[in-house]
């Protein structure tokens, strides 16, 4: 999966819990929860949706690695390629 389509998939997952999100207005380097009004239930549902779309199950211990769009893309990409995201 290309970086662009991976990013698209992540944003699509995000929009299932926050339909008001404008993809163009999202900054990749800022925490998602600062840019989008996400509570813990929304964040969990976002991860459930990522799992459904991409098959990546993100453990709680790795939540700190998926806080921004850029970091989330890197993490998921590494997991999809079977390498350690660290």
């Amino acid at each position: 999966m290309s970086d662009a389509s991976l990013r698209e998939a992540i944003i699509a997952a995000l929009r299932t819990v926050a339909p008001e999100v404008e993809p163009a207005s999202l900054r990749g380097d800022l925490p998602l929860r600062e840019q989008v009004d996400l509570d813990s239930m929304d964040f969990l549902n976002f991860l459930v949706e990522l799992h459904r779309r991409l098959g990546v199950d993100i453990p709680e211990a790795d939540y700190a690695q998926v806080q921004t769009l850029d970091a989330c893309s890197r993490y998921v990409s590494a997991r999809l390629q079977g390498t350690s995201p660290k």
């Binding site: 926050a18 008001e20 813990s40 239930m41 969990l44 549902n45 991860l47 993100i58």
Partner: protein, 375 residues
């Protein structure tokens, strides 16, 4: 749901009325009928959807039976209490009603018309040979009420009005008292973390669920906080239906109930909570979920608030609030440690309980959260 039995020749019918889904609700619009006259229905089946200031809600059938007649057509806005349809028990439909030669109306129709001051000569009869039936009279009443209904506010403005009506009534009528206590969540969060490590993302449990569970179980020992104030007195509820305040992305809030939360295991409670949030934001809440809560919990932890003293949702008599879980300095056995701590609050109706009772209740929640495995 408001409904009463009315006499009808041969077969008993039951009025299915526009329910009040909150103390603020005055009108509702029927936006869909999900059943047609004559089709078999079970108790709890969704038969209609209504739109209120707070959104679209599903109405459930209050009995096993069939719709005898739809009185209020789709798209019609009527006052709370208006008869929407007539229901009857399963079986053959009512026999044709007797036709008094001069009036050409059924006895039930005539009684209803007389009670409501309706002139039968203005009512279009749809019964055999044009006889005016009870349903015709009820439709006439509904139409008159619909015509009298003021134009509704819409969207966020309507939601704001609805919230304003609820909280104003609460603050006008309920003498609140407020208590707060700090609870060490160390044991609960450690236990939850270990649990979640074993679970896929689809089955994880949030701290919010364990807080709901602790409140529900604690209420078993403090039943005077669980129920409603009605007709000048407190009515205790045997069932513990926990309303959960959910903020909507478009503004405003709803507080639908998780039924029998004290009898729902933690994982199922988490599923119910997820489902409730999903439906509160996307539609599909049931009327019963909007009316059955016997207490409400508000959790503003994610919003960053340390403490929340909430406004009780009338006719309930208590509201429990949770703030943000933060690491704080905590005295423990004579030493100072850092623990994850949440401030739990109780807004209580002083007509029903006193601070002493409320304080013991908060203590019980803290005690339960110290042994999460037992929840």
């Amino acid at each position: 749901m408001a409904s009463t039995n009315i006499p009808a020749p041969g077969v008993a019918t039951r009025e299915f009325r526009m329910p009040s889904l909150g103390t603020d609700m005055e009108y509702g619009t029927v936006v869909a009928w999900h059943a047609t006259p004559g089709a078999a229905l079970k108790h709890g089946d969704v038969i209609a959807e209504i739109q209120t200031e707070k959104g679209v809600f599903e109405l459930e059938c209050p009995m096993d039976g069939v719709i005898e007649r739809i009185v209020v057509e789709r798209g019609t806005r009527v006052r709370v209490g208006t008869v929407l349809a007539l229901l009857r028990a399963p079986g053959p439909s009512a026999p044709p009603e007797a036709l008094p030669a001069a009036v050409r109306a059924s006895p039930a129709a005539r009684r209803m018309a007389q009670d409501r001051g309706i002139s039968l000569s203005h009512v279009q009869g749809t019964g055999p040979n044009g006889v005016v039936t009870l349903a015709d009279v009820l439709r006439e009443i509904a139409n008159a009420e619909a015509a009298a209904a003021p134009a509704p506010a819409t969207g966020a403005a309507a939601m704001r009005q609805a919230v304003a009506a609820t909280v104003s009534k609460s603050k006008r009528e309920i003498p609140h008292y407020y208590l707060a206590t700090d609870i060490d969540l160390g044991a609960a969060l450690t236990w939850l973390q270990a649990e979640n490590t074993k679970r896929p993302v689809t089955e994880r449990i949030l701290p919010a669920a364990i807080l709901v569970r602790a409140v529900a179980v604690a209420l078993r020992r403090f039943p005077d906080l669980n129920g409603i104030w009605k007709d000048g007195g407190f009515q205790r509820s045997d069932a513990i239906h926990v309303g959960v305040a959910i903020s909507l992305r478009t503004g405003g809030l709803l507080a639908p109930a998780i039924h029998d939360a004290d009898r729902t295991p933690l994982r199922e409670l988490m599923v119910a909570l997820q489902d409730l949030v999903q439906r509160a934001r996307n539609g599909g809440l049931r009327g019963s979920e909007m009316t059955d809560a016997t207490i409400t919990i508000t959790n503003l932890g994610d919003a960053g608030a340390h403490t929340v003293f909430g406004v009780i949702f009338p006719p309930q008599v208590a509201l429990v609030g949770f703030g943000q879980v933060t690491e704080r300095a905590w005295a423990d056995h004579g030493g100072l440690v850092v623990r994850p701590v949440v401030t739990a609050t109780l807004s209580g109706d002083h007509r029903v309980t006193d601070g002493h009772y409320g304080a013991l209740f908060l203590g019980e929640i803290a005690r339960l959260l110290a042994s999460p495995e037992a929840l």
